[in-house]
């Protein structure tokens, strides 16, 4: 018993540090990718044929961006954009550097999620807003996004959970965080208890995120 407790609390400093790094990476890339993902997702919907700001060229470009980036496996994307990462943060190693590929991968992912959430909004409501003299911008801000909010929140929860898993991959190439600890201590040094504890932490984190996402979505859903 004594022993088990010791095992549980040992390495707590290490793990706490890793957890903080993971939260930092996921949190920051989440914020940035939500912003750009919203632009991308809303953009691709409203530029569609017969939509608010129909423009087949912009629509084509935005769809390409979403599909191309999403079809590259994350581990390859991460390596492929190292020059871009260096350009932005000056290095390709460490937590800051990890945020770049995470964000780049999450933007089109979020874009697609935003797209499908926005498309669920009843066409009749958009028409009603047009009949009241709303501009396209007002429709996007006051109608599309608020009406799609519950779906958006659930979708963004998926993005966040995907980012947690991606953050473990960047850990493998020196990105820091829980993934990094699991690989270095758990795998390379055969410290199975550390490995288990990181996995446990990740499970708790994902559960927490999903629970929070569900709660928030239900709170804003008045359908």
């Amino acid at each position: 018993m004594q022993n088990l407790l010791e095992i549980l609390v040992s390495d707590s400093e290490l793990l706490w540090g890793g957890l903080q790094e993971t939260i930092y990476m996921v949190g920051l890339s989440m914020v940035i990718s939500t912003f750009f993902g919203l632009l991308l997702g809303v953009g691709v919907v409203v530029t569609e044929k017969d939509n608010l700001l129909e423009n087949k060229y912009i629509n084509f470009v935005l769809s390409i961006i979403i599909n191309v980036v999403r079809s590259i496996p994350f581990i390859i994307l991460m390596v492929a954009i190292i020059p871009f990462t260096r350009l932005l943060v000056g290095t390709s190693i460490g937590t800051e550097a990890a945020i770049v590929p995470l964000t780049v991968a999450a933007i089109p992912f979020t874009g697609r999620i935003v797209e499908s959430a926005i498309k669920e909004v009843d066409q009749g409501i958009i028409e009603a807003a047009q009949a009241m003299g709303a501009t396209s911008w007002e429709i996007i801000i006051k109608v599309l996004i608020p009406e799609a909010l519950p779906s958006l929140i659930l979708g963004l929860t998926i993005t966040a959970i995907t980012l947690v898993s991606f953050s473990a991959i960047v850990g493998a190439v020196g990105g820091g965080g829980l993934g990094d600890i699991a690989i270095r201590y758990g795998y390379q040094r055969f410290q199975t208890d550390v490995m288990l504890k990181t996995v446990l932490l990740l499970i708790v984190m994902v559960q927490g995120l999903q629970g929070f996402g569900n709660w928030l979505a239900a709170k804003v859903d008045h359908k």
């Binding site: 009603a128 009241m132 003299g133």
Partner: protein
């Protein structure tokens, strides 16, 4: 108030051209409740959506309050739309907003100040009888209540015109009546011009002053509601009128009445106004020594005018029956149609 000149709407795709509306000319006076009725697919929805340019006409003019909407820039059109309220079959309320916030929406768009919005919301909700539901969400309301919110929202910017796109079609009859009462009330209190489309003749009968019948993208017939009920000219109009006043008799009646004696006639009589209250039939019986068998009778009110329909079988001396019918035909405000008889005279009137 509203003038439509030679409106045409054509949908073009690569393979084909569909003419949704053609040669539409309408004039709607200020303060009128104007109904547009037609079977589904006739182009009603397209027509009403052309009125605020949700559908862009292929050609023709839409003139509302002296302004030709088809000639406005996008920005001017948005301003013009604030003067035209609209309600919908599916209400189209914002589900993420409360009732009060829904009503506030057009006011926000118009850039009104917060405190003005607040007092306006209260007035509007009171007008539609939902003052106690301000903080409810649309999903918590019944269909009729949601349409009331829709009406309050449509009236927020004090429009001159209210467009109703099948506004009662998804409501049960009782709720439909209460919404129609509300529209009538608003029309009288605010003097707002109402244009409504519907496929229910009941709705036209209940609140409209004038009506246009739309069939296959064209106006088949238009005029005062009472005239159309009394004297429908087109087949499509007759069908709609029959839907409300169904004086069609079961077939067995058609054979029994006249063929039994050989001298009988089946006559459909429509009365209007004071004549509906006269003791016409008993006068006839006395005067011409005929037997009258009442097969169907109905009395209704359209725009406050009594409107009666009677189908009678007349039996007796051939000459007497003929003269009796002639007397009916000669009366003002009475329309006679001989359905079956020795002297088949149709549509005299």
């Amino acid at each position: 108030m509203i003038k439509i000149n030679n409106l045409q709407k054509v949908y073009r795709s690569a393979e084909q051209e569909v003419i949704a509306l053609q040669k539409i000319d309408l004039e709607i006076e200020t303060g009128e409740i104007f109904g547009i009725i037609g079977p589904s697919g006739a182009g009603k929805s397209t027509l009403i959506r052309c009125l605020n340019l949700l559908e862009k006409p292929s050609s023709g003019d839409i003139i509302i309050a002296g302004q030709d909407l088809t000639e406005l820039t996008t920005k001017e059109l948005r301003e013009a739309r604030k003067e035209i309220g609209m309600i919908f079959q599916n209400f189209n309320l914002l589900k993420s907003r409360t009732v009060a916030q829904n009503v506030a929406f057009p006011l926000e768009l118009a850039g009104e100040k917060k405190d003005k919005i607040k007092s306006k919301i209260y007035k509007l909700l009171k007008l539609v009888g939902l003052a106690d539901k301000a903080d409810s969400y649309p999903s918590q309301l019944s269909g009729g209540q949601q349409q009331r919110v829709g009406i309050a929202r449509a009236l927020a910017n004090d429009p001159q015109v209210l467009l109703c796109d099948e506004a009662t079609s998804s409501l049960d009859p009782e709720t439909t009546n209460s919404i129609l009462e509300l529209l009538k009330d608003i029309n009288q209190k605010l003097g707002i011009t109402i244009v409504l489309i519907t496929h229910e003749m009941e709705v036209i009968k209940e609140i409209c002053t004038k009506v246009a019948v739309l069939e296959a993208g064209q106006i088949a017939e238009q005029g005062a509601v009472i005239d159309l009920f009394l004297n429908p000219q087109q087949e499509v109009t007759k069908r709609f009128v029959q839907g409300v006043i169904n004086a069609d008799l079961p077939e067995e009646f058609l054979f029994s009445t006249d063929n039994a004696t050989g001298n009988g006639s089946l006559v459909k009589i429509s009365f209007i106004g004071q004549s509906a209250k006269q003791s016409l039939i008993s006068d006839l019986i006395h005067k011409y020594q005929i037997k009258v068998n009442i097969l169907y009778g109905n009395i209704d009110k359209i725009q406050g005018v009594s409107f009666g329909t009677l189908v009678i079988g007349i039996e007796g001396n051939k000459q007497q029956v003929k003269e009796a019918i002639k007397e009916l035909v000669d009366l003002d405000e009475v329309k006679v149609e001989v359905i079956q008889g020795a002297e088949p005279v149709r549509d005299i009137g």
